[in-house]
Symmetry: C2
């Protein structure tokens, strides 16, 4: 019984050993825990060993990049603490995430306030806590930083294409390279350290070449800024490195090689400092979300069974919106003959459907009370859960690593 057997019919392209290996080993460790502990479902279990493996892999693949874990992907205190221990830095989006990192022992100098949308009061609070690195992409935000965090370092986010991403960003963040040149110049005038350029090629990026455009854009900004006497030194490569869903992404080494080649091509000997913001990459494959089948019923058209789980879009599976992220599944009936299903969540909400267009096949024997595990579900699940939509509580979480949370 393998962890792919529940999703026969879903294209599962060959994957590299490291991605599938860590995910499979972690899923097996978590299965052992779940089968022993039998927690109430739904429940997300994180395997800290897998988080550490992913961190070590990335450290090896991009040895001179500063790793800033994107806390938003999974803000469980144990996850943050494990990464503090490994020497990780942190990419945060809010005062709440700053507090969390500091509470888990992070050095404020290891925190990058990566949200370009910030209240002035929140900038001042971060500055008072010792945070010195801020993202920006607009004049208004830059002015607020200059006033509330005098002398801080700022990097400017440029907008790049998100082709190949399963969850692209649209136009919400980033400015043109021309604007970035102007903003970095303005930052220097305002007494800030205009330290660099960032971009984000979209989350769960399946095209290892996607970073090339961003690195080229960053180089254009470096050149433009230099013409105005400003000398940025940092390229923030953002996030986008993948976890292992049904359609596997290229191996990490492919991404690292393409990034290194682009850096060589654009910057040559003037190699910039590097920063990378992995979120999904570090925690996605380290989590398993165990759910229970609530109901199996025929569709009114008779073609597919509807399988209703006790987890859905509003209590953990927000990223199944638009069926963007397709989790691998494992059931307590794996090995039995399978047939096509629609998967849905437990609420009275018509949009609480998990997979309808994506073809999933599950055992024909599946019935109420059986378990369905969503694999590689460690990123963007528990923290997206609603406070209590339809009266269902938020997704409980626990870690395995010799100690457990209640």
């Amino acid at each position: 019984m393998t962890d792919q057997s529940a999703t026969t019919g879903v294209t599962d392209r060959p994957s590299d050993g490291d991605v599938a290996g860590t995910a499979a080993r972690s899923a097996e460790r978590i299965r052992e825990h779940l089968d022993g502990a039998v927690p109430a479902t739904p429940c997300l279990v994180m395997d800290l060993t897998a988080v550490r493996e992913r961190y070590a892999e990335l450290r090896a693949a991009l040895p001179d990049a500063r790793i800033c874990y994107a806390v938003k992907a999974n803000p469980m205190p144990e996850v943050v603490a494990a990464l503090v221990e490994l020497g990780s830095s942190f990419d945060v989006a809010s005062p709440g995430e700053i507090d969390l990192c500091l509470e888990q022992g992070a050095d404020p100098a290891a925190i990058s306030y990566g949200n370009t949308i910030k209240k002035r009061a929140d900038i001042a609070r971060a500055h008072a806590q010792g945070v010195r690195l801020f993202a920006t992409d607009s004049e208004a935000d830059l002015t607020a930083i200059a006033e509330a965090a005098p002398g801080a370092s700022v990097f400017c986010r440029v907008l790049v294409a998100n082709d190949g991403s399963r969850t692209p960003f649209g136009r919400k963040f980033g400015c043109t390279p021309e604007t970035a040149v102007r903003l970095l110049g303005r930052a220097a005038e305002l007494g800030l350290d205009a330290c660099g350029v960032s971009f984000h090629i979209g989350s769960q990026q399946h095209d290892a070449a996607a970073w090339e455009h961003g690195i080229a854009a960053a180089h254009r900004v470096f050149r433009g800024a230099a013409e105005h006497g400003v000398r940025p030194r940092l390229v923030n490569l953002g996030g986008g490195l993948p976890a292992h869903y049904t359609d596997a992404a290229p191996p990490l080494t492919d991404y690292a090689r393409r990034i290194e080649q682009a850096l060589d091509r654009e910057f040559g000997a003037d190699r910039p400092e590097l920063l990378v913001e992995p979120g999904r990459r570090l925690v996605g494959d380290a989590g398993v979300l165990r759910s229970e089948v609530v109901l199996v019923s025929p569709d009114s058209d008779g073609e597919r069974r509807w399988v209703y789980l006790d987890v859905g879009r509003y209590n953990g599976l927000a990223e199944t919106e638009g069926e963007a992220i397709t989790y691998r599944l494992r059931t307590s009936r794996d090995g039995d003959p399978v047939g096509p299903v629609v998967l849905a969540g437990p609420t009275c909400d018509g949009d609480d459907v998990i997979y309808q267009r994506t073809r999933y096949e599950l055992p024909l024997t599946l019935r109420a009370g059986d378990t369905v595990d969503l694999l590689s579900a460690g990123a963007y699940t528990a923290s997206y859960a609603s406070v209590g939509f339809n009266g269902f509580p938020p997704l409980p979480t626990r870690c395995i690593d010799g100690h457990e949370r209640p």
Copy 2:
């Protein structure tokens, strides 16, 4: 300064006096409260007086229908308590909602367990608490009800078209009339009270005639069941009655008239008992969500300003997914000249954009620190908020009615 002024450019069709009147008066009372109390933003304020007005209107429009408030729309204890006091019944989706209603003084006999997706243990728990009315639409669920709630009353949900709904249900719930006839017959065999038929024409329904198909389908089921010796007596008209967003819906009296006409046409003298499940209708217009502008910045194409608020899709505005629900807006700069904007939330998530396709215009003078009120935001907001995505806390709520929640 009217509550429409912030959304010039959005089509605002003429509305009935009652809808606009209650919403406008409530929005004004809440403004007075907010301007005095100045709570931290974002914040949802509910006006219990408006909830009571909406209840009384519906009571008058459908005098012989049992009103079951759909708790999911707004599960604030004060709202539930106010409706208990008015003699309302309740449509619940989960054990959590049953507990909430009982805690607020509801009689278990006034609770309808309207979710067709239920764990057997949850059915048993509800039955032990005194709940005696259950929705169903499948053999498996019906069997679970018969075993865990012996002798209970069940109504069978049929699938009907959702044209005209702003948030249609798809195929997740309901069976064909033919299956409903079979299930009601089976319910009787299992010793249950096969009491009726339900349907749902989709939430925020703008076509007052939409109920006609459901009533016709219910009548077909009544006839088919009678041929098997089963005599259902209840038609559950579901929800769908609208709140007052930018494109106003017809007046409630139109809906009531079309429903009465359809009942006369289909059932004639054999008029069934009626049940209605308003959620949005009772609470939508009774709430105002106050937010603060975090940042205003030009788009990289230079055409529209991006206005970033401290509330977005993950901390209260879930129903702006797909821009399905378009709230009316009120700003602290209303009256100043306006221009087109994109509205977005505060997180680092590219999908946290509120309105991009829908044309909204806001004052050109709008800047960080100004307030933007989302009007008629009492339904499907706070309870959808995430537990802490991106580190932003859930949406705080409060009520005005002589007493307040901290």
